[in-house]
Symmetry: C2
Subunit: 132 residues, 2 copies
DNA sequence: CCTTGACTTAGAGTTAACTCGAAGATTTAT
DNA sequence: ATAAATCTTCGAGTTAACTCTAAGTCAAGG
């Protein structure tokens, strides 16, 4: 199977624009094989990498750090423990971030509760979390 | 009691720089009373507002939206339901954001697990979440 | 008095991660 | 054959929220 895709197809599949895919390659996040004439041909593997980059980005990992990770990947088997450590460390940062957001959300709830108390006859729209 | 503070003191107390406090005022997030000669005097109330701004910011509310909220506050009692709605809506956005982060964290955990499987003799540093 | 701090306006610089466009050449697809 | 896609390089523009500097004036505290 191992299909190949043009940059436009890769863009459509991953939701990352062609511009940005080229940008990622320039930043060392991707290295996509080329045809004899120099056009990029994305493999399913490449698409997997793009998805992984997107995942890390969504968890607030900066591009340079992602680049570091991927460089380690290319450096082979003996970097596995380093790579895992990076992910584990990042997971910790992320968990802290989530915990902070939740504590802020509690503070926000207190404020909302305050507004509910001030004007009780409008209570009906406060507990709407599950409505939509 | 109702103490008053210079801009530097307010900066120290809130952790927001004097520069940024002035910036917030320019953006309509604060309106701090002045001495006869024009120097800002922050009240405890003002500090409360600053803390609230910081809270909303930390939950990713953009400054213009915070400004809208605060403008409503000044417009008085009949905007209470609007204000609460803003907070409730924002709480939803925030809850979604947290949920997304958590789902990404799960994906990250899967990756970490994969790395653990690849090289089991290094398992010892994977479950370290509670260590430090 | 004198140093430190405050005020104003105005504008430039910063950071991250795109985002876009143009120019000019080549390639691919129909 | 021709239209659409791709390639390269280059550099400018965007967004948010600061962050800092400068110039020039004025106020406050000891």
């Amino acid at each position: 199977m191992t299909s190949k895709y043009t940059i436009q197809q890769a863009a459509e599949i991953t939701g990352v624009s062609a511009h940005t895919l080229r940008y990622y390659e320039r930043q060392g996040l991707l290295s996509v094989a080329r045809t004899a004439s120099g056009h990029r041909r994305f493999t399913d593997d490449d698409l997997g990498w793009v998805r992984f980059i997107v995942l890390l980005k969504r968890t607030n990992m900066p591009l340079p750090e992602i680049a570091t990770f991927i460089r380690l990947e290319k450096d082979g088997r003996d970097t596995i423990s380093k790579r895992r450590k990076m992910l584990v460390d990042h997971r910790k940062v992320l968990a802290n971030h989530v915990a902070e957001l939740q504590s802020h959300m509690n503070a926000l709830d207190a404020k909302i509760h305050y507004y509910s108390d001030v004007n009780n006859d409008l209570l009906n729209c406060v507990q709407d979390d599950s409505t939509q």
